[in-house]
């Protein structure tokens, strides 16, 4: 039981729980949608796995940017906060995202997606339609802002333990704005896909 208590104190535990949930969600979702030995499905599965890994790491980078912006604002507000505390706060804020992905895993187990046929793979909108039809994906789409709000609220509450609450609120607001600006800039730069 000692190792369990030590594990619970580990700052990175929420990130690991989130990663495990994301891996389970990706496995269930991707293998459910693209099932079969046909090379078309194999290519789709490989592409989807690579995409999930990229999404996971880019999410950690965005949280890094968020933490950096929080630290910059707190330093501007003359708060002397140890950098490790910011890392710890960002890491613990992942509990909200971890709960979100595990909820997705549970709904995928209860209502797994119907596999696409090889014929449907050639249709442009078939994947989008199947994702819309699957209850789990629909709920994940609806709940994403709630998970994000949970993340921001957790980060704010944890920062408020070490700084003045108003400064913590300002830091989280500034970091949210900075992250939104970065996401918008990247989205505008990448632009729409060809043919859409």
């Amino acid at each position: 039981m000692k190792w369990l208590a030590r594990l619970a104190k580990l700052a990175l535990l929420p990130v690991l729980v989130w990663l495990a949930g994301l891996a389970a969600f990706a496995l269930l979702g991707i293998n459910g949608l693209f099932a079969g030995p046909n090379p078309v499905f194999v290519i789709a599965r490989v592409t989807a796995y690579v995409t999930v890994v990229v999404v996971a790491t880019v999410t950690t980078a965005f949280v890094g940017v968020f933490g950096l912006a929080c630290g910059a604002m707190l330093s501007w507000l003359c708060e002397s906060l140890d950098r490790r505390r910011i890392v710890d706060t960002m890491s613990r804020s992942f509990w909200s995202l971890a709960a979100y992905v595990w909820l997705g895993v549970a709904s995928l187990v209860l209502d797994p997606p119907v596999a696409l046929t090889a014929f449907e793979m050639s249709e442009a909108d078939a994947l989008e339609a199947r994702v819309r039809e699957t209850t789990a994906f629909g709920w994940m789409g609806r709940l994403r802002y709630l998970a994000l709000l949970g993340f921001l609220a957790t980060a704010g509450c944890l920062l408020a333990r070490y700084t003045r609450p108003l400064n913590a609120l300002l830091a989280v607001s500034f970091a949210s704005a900075a992250l939104a600006a970065l996401l918008t800039a990247l989205g505008l730069l990448a632009g729409p896909s060809v043919g859409h």
Partner: protein, 190 residues
């Protein structure tokens, strides 16, 4: 210099894996991707939609925007202990490797593949490796997080790297949009 070498190694590893995956997929027993069932006429989806492909300056802008996005995401390794950089470099290598692998499997000669990739690829992948080298410096930054100062970020010379990246990727996009397309057309008409 060590980080640049690391970025090149990651890209090459991804490239080799991509070629391997392409050959593994091609070695699978061939199946028709479009089995037509008795209840499903062949043209059930209606006439194929014509996808408008950008050409000329539109293609140049499209390529430059996409590559600049990848360039910026590679730089995010600075704030993610190099994780994003490692994954994106491997992923890009994997994509290029798959392209080379499938081209080889479909009977395209290695010289033709080189004609299509090298003119813009050297500049493009070189610029991405420079961004990768900066992103990989996030690893030592993460290990010494208590000692991070404003000067730690200033030492990365992000402004210079961004200007270099924009210039190199604009050059690569120009070559790809106006030279590589011409080479592809001449190869198609062979």
């Amino acid at each position: 210099m060590g980080c640049f070498f690391g970025a090149v190694v990651l890209l090459v590893v991804g490239l080799a894996a991509g070629v391997g995956i392409a050959e593994w997929i091609s070695a699978m027993p061939a199946q028709s991707p479009l089995p037509v069932g008795a209840d499903r006429p062949l043209l059930a989806a209606g006439p194929a939609r014509r996808v408008e492909e950008p050409v000329g300056w539109d293609l140049f802008a499209f390529i430059l925007r996409r590559n600049m996005t990848v360039f910026l995401i590679l730089l995010l390794g600075v704030v993610s202990a190099g994780l994003v950089t490692i994954v994106v470099l491997l992923g890009n290598g994997l994509a290029v490797g798959q392209l080379i692998g499938f081209a080889r499997v479909s009977g395209m000669s290695q010289v033709d593949v080189a004609y299509l990739l090298l003119p813009h690829g050297v500049l493009e992948l070189g610029a991405l490796c420079v961004a990768g080298a900066v992103g990989l410096r996030g690893i030592p930054l993460a290990f010494g997080i208590s000692a991070i100062e404003r000067s730690s970020f200033a030492a990365l010379r992000l402004g210079t790297v961004l200007v270099f990246g924009l210039g190199a990727l604009a050059g690569a996009a120009g070559v790809e949009a106006f030279v590589t397309v011409g080479i592809a057309e001449s190869l198609r008409s062979k």
